[in-house]
Symmetry: C2
Subunit: 346 residues, 2 copies
C-alpha cells in the first residue's frame, strides 16, 4: 500500500495525495475529502523512509545517554521530548554504555541522515571528536560543556564550591570528595569547585580525600570505605552522584556512624533517590527539565541555522538541605543562588 495505490483509488495523482497528506492548501475541498476517505478506508500510512529520502530530513532527534541507571536523565529527557514534540520532532534514545565504539555507531544515525540532530550528555569521545561531528550534523551537549559546541549546563565549579562551602560552614575541615572517574569537563569542574572552596577557607587540599568513584552504588560504598580507613578520616563527604552518596551513607551505617551527625554527606543531581533514601540526602539539584528544554532549543536553532553561533546556556543549581547533613542556624546558611547567564563564543 503506497501513495500510488491511494492515488489510483482516489482517482487522482500521487502529487495530490501528497498535498492532502501534508496539508497543502492547493487542493479542492472535494478532492481532499475523497483522498482522506480512501486513506481512512485503507488504513494507509505514508512510508516515512521514502519521505525522508526525498525531503532530506527525518523529523527525528537522537538523544545519546551514557546510561539510564541514573534517574537524573529521566527528567532531562522529558524536557527534550516535550519541546521536540511541540516542534513535531520524535525523540529516540540510544544508550552508549560509555563505550566509544557504540557511541560512534549511534552517531552514524545522524551522519547517515536518519536523524536530524543529536543531543548528547557526557560523551565517551573526546571533545575534539564531538567537535568534528558537529561539522557533519547538528549536535548539542546537555549537562556537560566542552566549549566547542553549544550546550546547556549548570556552573559545575560553583555548584561544587557551594556544596563544599556549606560543609565547611557546618564545621567540617576534613572533607572527602567522591568524583567521577572519567575526567570529563564537568568532573574536573566539580573537583576545582571543591578545591577552590577549601583554599578560600584556608583548608589544605589532601589528595587522599579525593576518590575516583564510578557512578554506581557499590563504588560509592567502596570509595567511602577507603576514605574512612584513613588515619584521619573525613568528617564530611561530597559526592558527584546521588547514587554514590547513597553508597557512602550505606557504608557509614555499616561502620556504625550516623550520617548527618558523625559524618555529613552531600549528593549531586537532586534525583528522587536523594529524597527517597533513609536518611534523606542533601544534594545539589540540577534543573533537569529546563536543561533538556534549553538543549532542544539550541539544537533546533542549529538545525534551522547551521552556522549559528556556539552558545552556552548556564542554568541555576540549588542546594537542597536534608537529613544527611547536620543542621545549622538559618542565618548562617551560605548563599547558593546562581543566576542564569547566556554566554556566547564565536
Amino acid at each position: 500500500m503506497n501513495i500510488k495505490d491511494i492515488a489510483v483509488l482516489a482517482e487522482t495523482s500521487t502529487a495530490t495525495v501528497s498535498r492532502v497528506i501534508n496539508g497543502d492548501a492547493h487542493v479542492s475541498a472535494d478532492m481532499r475529502k475523497k483522498v482522506l476517505e480512501v486513506i481512512e478506508l485503507t488504513g494507509y500510512k505514508p512510508n516515512l523512509v521514502g519521505k525522508a529520502l526525498r525531503s532530506q530530513r527525518s523529523n527525528k532527534l537522537l538523544v545519546l545517554l551514557p546510561t539510564i541507571v541514573n534517574p537524573y536523565y529521566s527528567r532531562v529527557l522529558q524536557g527534550v521530548e516535550q519541546c521536540a514534540s511541540i516542534h513535531d520532532y520524535d525523540t529516540v534514545i540510544a544508550i552508549t554504555h560509555r563505550d566509544p565504539e557504540t557511541e560512534r555507531r549511534y552517531l552514524s544515525l545522524a551522519s547517515t541522515k536518519q536523524v536530524d540532530g543529536v543531543v548528547t550528555f557526557t560523551s565517551s569521545l573526546s571533545d575534539e571528536d564531538i567537535y568534528a561531528y558537529s561539522k557533519e550534523f547538528p549536535i548539542v551537549q546537555c549537562g556537560a560543556s566542552s566549549g566547542l559546541i553549544s550546550c546547556s549546563c549548570i556552573d559545575n565549579v560553583k555548584a561544587s564550591y557551594d556544596a563544599t562551602e556549606f560543609l565547611i560552614r557546618l564545621g567540617n575541615r576534613r572533607i572527602g570528595l567522591l568524583n567521577g572517574p572519567y575526567r570529563r569537563t564537568y568532573e574536573v569542574d566539580r573537583e576545582n569547585g571543591y578545591r577552590y572552596a577549601l583554599i578560600d577557607y584556608g583548608i589544605p587540599v589532601i589528595p587522599e580525600y579525593i576518590a575516583s568513584c564510578d557512578y554506581t552504588f557499590t563504588d560509592g560504598i567502596d570509595c567511602c570505605a577507603e576514605l574512612m580507613q584513613l588515619p584521619e578520616p573525613p568528617t564530611a563527604i561530597f559526592t558527584s552522584y546521588d547514587i554514590s552518596a547513597a553508597g557512602a551513607i550505606k557504608q557509614l551505617l555499616k561502620l556504625g556512624l550516623t550520617p548527618g551527625r558523625d559524618v555529613d554527606v552531600i549528593g549531586f543531581d537532586g534525583t528522587y533517590i536523594s529524597a527517597m533514601y533513609s536518611p534523606e540526602i542533601t544534594t545539589v539539584e540540577q534543573p533537569g527539565y529546563e536543561l533538556g528544554k534549553a538543549a532542544f532549543d539550541l539544537l533546533l536553532e542549529k538545525i534551522e541555522k547551521p552556522d549559528a553561533m556556539v552558545k552556552k546556556i548556564i542554568m541555576p543549581h540549588k542546594l537542597i538541605i536534608r537529613e544527611s547533613t547536620r543542621s545549622m542556624p538559618a542565618e548562617d546558611v551560605p548563599p547558593i543562588e546562581s543566576s542564569r547567564v547566556t554566554e556566547s563564543a564565536g
Copy 2:
C-alpha cells in the same frame, strides 16, 4: 557526497561501490582496494535512508519503554541491545510515559518501515490494539504477557504467590498489597498470586489491604500511610516495585516502626534500589538480562519468519531475602524455584 560520487572518483560504477560497501565477494582485490581508498579519503558514509528505502529494512529495533525511572528496565535493555548488536541491529529506545497517543506515534516508526521490529514492555494500549499492530510488523512483549503475541516474562502469579507465602510463613496474617494501578495482565497476575496464597493458607482476603499504587516513591509512601491508618493495620506489605517498597519503608520509619521487625516489606524486580536502601529490601528478582535476551530472540524469529508461532517464554524468578523482612529458620524457607518453560500456542 553519495555513492555516485565515489563511483566516479574510483572510476567504476555505483554497483561496484555498493558491492564493496556491503562486503560482496564478487569484486576484484584491486577494485576493492581502490574503492576503499576513495571512501577513506572522502570520509564517505552511505546514506542509510536510501539503503533502507531500497532494501525495505533498516536493521534497527525499537524498544518502547513506559518510563526509564525504574532501573529494572536498564538491565532488560542491555539484554536486548547486546543480542541485537551481535545480529547487527541497532537498538533505539522511545519513552511512552504511559500515554497511548505517544505510544502510537512511536509505533508508527515500525508501521512506516523505519524500524524492523519492536520490543514493548507494559503498554498503554489494549491487548487487542497491540495484537492488531502485530499483524502489521514484528512486535514482541517483554515482562508482560497478553497471550496474543510472543513474549518473555516470569510467572507473575507464582512470583507473587511465593512472596506472599513467604510473608505468611514469617507469621503474618494481615498482609497489605501495593499493586500497580494500570490493570495490566502482570498486575492482575500479581494480585491473583497474592490472593491464592492467602486462600491456600486460610487467610481472608481483605479488600482494604489491597492498594492501587503507582510506581513512584511518593505513591508508595501514601499507600502505605493509608494501610497503616486502618483499625487493624497490616503487619506485612508486599509491593509491585522496589521503589514502592522504598516508599512504604520510608513511611513506616516515619511512623516510628522498624521494617523487618514491626512490619515486613517485600519489593519487586530486584533492582539496585532494593540492595541500596537502608534497610536493604527483600525483593522478587526478575532475570532482567535474560528476559531482554529472550525477547530479542523472539523478535528476530518473527522478523525472519513472519508467520512463526506465538511463543511465551517463562523465566525463573527468585526471592532475595534481605533486611526488610524478619529472619526465619533456614529449614522453613519456602521453595521458590521456578523452572524455565516454553509454552506455545497457535
